[in-house]
Symmetry: C2
Subunit: 240 residues, 2 copies
């Protein structure tokens, strides 16, 4: 049976402005691959209501799961929760379970809430919370959409809590061989090997360093014996 | 006048499988910001014909420019050029200018071409070439879609050749202030400052390190004096 599919939606100007290099995409991609959920698409959009709503609505209709990162903090540019509510056409308000979770941060509990803190407890109607063991402002799951923080260590902690609760597929195993040849010498024989193993994904990732061509040839699949057989075929074909 | 907008489409399984961490997105985002082209969306899709064609067709209809990376090499999984031709509904074939460029790699020129090398000279009808000074397999521009290699140093070289030929806007300048406060203390006053400078983008990028909350407050805009004024306001408000 095919593995469940997933999309990730990264929300915020940080990557689009070139200010920071992505970390959450890389982390989630690795974790999903390990448990047999196929990450099929990633989108990065800015803190723009219409852009976020459109992306959420498109992706949740197509993929088994959608994972979002970013935009659930207390500042004016944190609009993800409202966009999720708009995509699902449900209400949104401060909720008691979220207030209880966030209150763990403060000496006097909810008595220490200000408007900004209260904002982080606004959850779309019908969603369930995702625990945030680090800063206690929760994420949430709304049907197949899982909404998490953008701060990398908090994102990773939420992913760790969430993934064991999801249906997943067969673990994808991979192996690779580094060929010190140009891709144009590799292409013909590699295409034949890929065709001989139709259940596997066979990729060629070229590099060009210090004046020399090369490519990492990567085989992925859920059948470890097939992966090993394909890599052996590749090794025999391309080793010097 | 508003700056031109752009989308980037990253093509290939490398990032989606968690095998590699993005480099091209980060590079392009920084270069576009410098010259006043607003990167508004990034998509990452796998080596799948329908997924690539759909993304190209959607993005080129919405944004001033679309930049793609990946999938123009010689192997079986390199299908970007065909997908661009399909999106524009034009033919595609090996072209003399592309053959001449690629032939620079080989002692006997085009006489050394094999099927894989010839594949890299297939260019959609009506496109113009983007020079590849490193490995000579060209990228190409088809109307507002600019197709480049995925290998990071070749991608960067193509971007360097391409960007000076495009219309661009006013350079975006930015400045930042690091506040050692939780975002929930920052949110109220920062929202007021953002509202007072409507021509600027004011962002808050929280972090949580060694048990301490903090946020980098970043101001961006095309008017350097306004950016400086907003940062001064932020400094006065949030410095300890």
């Amino acid at each position: 049976m095919a593995n469940p599919t997933a999309a990730m939606l990264v929300i915020g100007d940080e990557i689009l402005s070139g200010r920071t290099r992505d970390a959450n995409m890389y982390h989630l991609a690795g974790e999903l691959t390990k448990i047999g959920i196929d990450l099929s698409e990633v989108r990065v959009v800015s803190d723009d209501h219409n852009a976020i709503v459109r992306a959420v609505s498109e992706l949740r209709a197509v993929f088994t799961y959608v994972f979002t990162s970013g935009g659930i903090g207390p500042t004016h540019d944190d609009i993800t929760a409202d966009c999720i509510a708009a995509s699902f056409k449900v209400g949104i308000d401060s909720r008691e379970d979220a207030r209880k979770a966030l209150a763990l941060n403060y000496e006097n509990g909810e008595a220490d809430f200000n408007e900004a803190r209260l904002r982080m407890t606004r959850i779309p109607d019908g969603a369930t919370l995702i625990d945030n063991p680090i800063s206690h402002a929760p994420g949430f799951s709304m049907e197949n959409v899982h909404v998490m923080a953008g701060v990398p260590n908090i994102f990773a902690a939420m992913v760790k809590n969430l993934l064991p609760t999801l249906d997943h597929g067969a673990e994808v195993v991979s192996d690779s061989f580094r060929a010190d040849l140009s891709e144009s010498s590799i292409a013909g024989p590699l295409g034949k090997i890929a065709a001989a193993f139709p259940s596997l994904s066979v990729g060629s990732y070229p590099f060009f360093k210090e004046g020399k061509h090369g490519a990492n040839l990567v085989v992925r699949g859920t059948d470890a014996a097939q992966v090993a057989a394909a890599i052996e075929e590749i090794r025999i074909t391309f080793e010097p």
